[in-house]
Amino acid sequence: MDGIRRREVARRIFAKELNGSTHIFKGNEEKSPVYVLTPLGLRCNRVFIIAALLEKEEVQPESGIWRIRLADPTGSFLGYVGRFQPEALESLTDIEPPVLVSLTAKVRVFEGSSRTLVTLRPENINISDIEARDYWIVETAKSTIKRIKDMENESSEDAKLAKQIYNPNLDEYRKAVKEALLKLKEEYEVVESAEEEEEEIEELEFDFEEEEFDLSDLLEE
């Protein structure tokens, strides 16, 4: 009964790491899944992302294939949606950039003559919100930090292999994660102080309304 293939996990990964991937694993069987090996040693076939959808445009007029670009705090993802992704295509019709979206997507790698290109093939797209996006950054930061540690300790075969192939500058990744978190932290500090200000404004408005009421009384007289 092991013939039933387990569903591929949707990994959490920042654009910077995903776009740096060039190595692919292909199984021997015709239908075996394709994985990319990322610079930090993640074997990945499917991803879940919450990011800002910046652009959507039809590749050629009337082609029915749409190119989308999304940005997270570290870089941007490129994706293509066509008629073989009916669910994603249908929801994309109603979504106008710029807007925060969540998407579950398969990872594809095109090997050109001079370089490889990592793209996404979304399975579904939906409108998201700031809170979910922030939690995605937290989740993704957490899993990226874990991969950095695993690579330092060479604690898995994939980490060792990725180190051999990419020899990534771990400090660069650490810095990118830290910047993403600090940006987020700043945002929360701003939100908190804004909320305080809002309260004061409300009180002022209340005073003002009372005055207005008083004035109308005077007018009636």
């Binding site: 387990r6 990994r11 579904n124 939906n126 930090i145 978190l181």
Partner: protein
């Protein structure tokens, strides 16, 4: 292993199996020694000979040899023929017409999945009732053990109330925070067969053909936390808790739009890609939902924690 030790081990096993019938361990060991040491008979033949002898001599029922009565916690290996006295704890919806019923049964020692094949031609069991499942075969599915009722099996309802203790009832209780990454086929406002509850498509039940049906609201989906995936089923109550849409509301939406699929579209819009906190029992790759809510993260605290780790 020395042959003497092996004889000791085998006689203990046989003794454990048949001790209720008044046999002595010494007698078994004596016979084993004779067959294995003096006659050099292969081990399987020796065991078979002794088992046959014991069955004859002590009037042990044949079934007890073929499919020994087993407690649930003893079910650990696939491919064994056994009999189990247990209570039907939960019935799940069969995923294929070849399955008549599937779900969880339990006794005072644990829980195990069960499956009654349609070809077995057995009457249906009911949730909360106790049965003797005779001559069933074990297998492993999705990482946990399961018993299979085939046409060689028998199911007898028994007049005993087997206590499945609350503690054991939920052996794999778990709380998962993850994103709902997929909503699968047969979700939304669905129609179920009046006879068996299976999903009816264009008025046809996969088992009973053209039948009467009733409406139901449910979602088959996948929760994914970036490390694992969990298949979940949200029932009407879960869906109402999350979205405010209940069965009546869904039927009204379908009627107003002259289209049942608007319900699914709306549920997808409200739930796909959202972070949910799901509490339930893990059985294989299924998470049987007991509670579900939108996840409210503590972003600021999480950021502080991560910044500390990263240094």
């Amino acid at each position: 292993m020395k042959i003497e030790e092996r004889i000791e081990e085998l006689s203990s096993q046989l003794y454990e199996k048949f001790k209720d019938y008044g046999i002595s361990k010494k007698e078994i060991a004596k016979r084993l020694k004779l067959l294995l040491l003096e006659f050099k008979v292969p081990e399987t033949e020796a065991l078979r000979t002794i088992t046959n002898y014991l069955v004859r001599e002590y009037q042990i029922p044949k079934e007890e040899v073929r499919a020994p009565t087993t407690k649930v916690f003893e079910i650990k290996e696939p491919g064994r023929w056994i009999s189990v006295k247990a209570k039907v704890v939960q019935l799940w919806e069969p995923t294929s017409p070849s399955i008549s019923q599937t779900g969880l049964i339990g006794d005072e020692t644990g829980l195990v999945r069960f499956l009654i094949w349609s070809k077995a031609g057995k009457p249906e069991v009911e949730e909360g009732k106790c049965y003797l499942f005779k001559n069933v075969v074990t297998d492993e599915f999705g990482g946990s053990m399961r018993i299979n009722v085939t046409r060689y099996s028998e199911i007898e309802e028994i007049n005993e109330d087997i206590k499945v203790s609350e503690e054991l009832r939920y052996p794999g209780e778990l709380e998962i925070v993850g994103s709902l990454v997929a909503i699968q086929q047969n979700s939304g406002l669905i129609q179920r067969c009046n006879e068996c509850g299976r999903v009816v498509k264009s008025g046809m039940c996969p088992v009973h053909g053209k039948v009467g049906w009733y409406d139901d609201l449910r979602i088959r989906g996948v929760i994914d936390n970036g490390e694992n995936t969990y298949e979940i089923i949200l029932n009407e109550e879960n869906i109402k808790d999350l979205t405010g849409i209940d069965l009546e509301g869904a039927k009204k939406m379908a009627k107003e739009n002259l289209d049942r699929s608007v319900v699914l579209s709306e549920l997808k819009r409200m739930l796909l890609g959202k972070y949910l906190k799901v509490g339930g029992d893990l059985v294989g790759r299924f998470l049987m939902v007991r509670r579900v809510e939108f996840y409210k993260p503590e972003i600021t605290a999480e950021i502080e924690k991560l910044l500390e780790i990263i240094g």
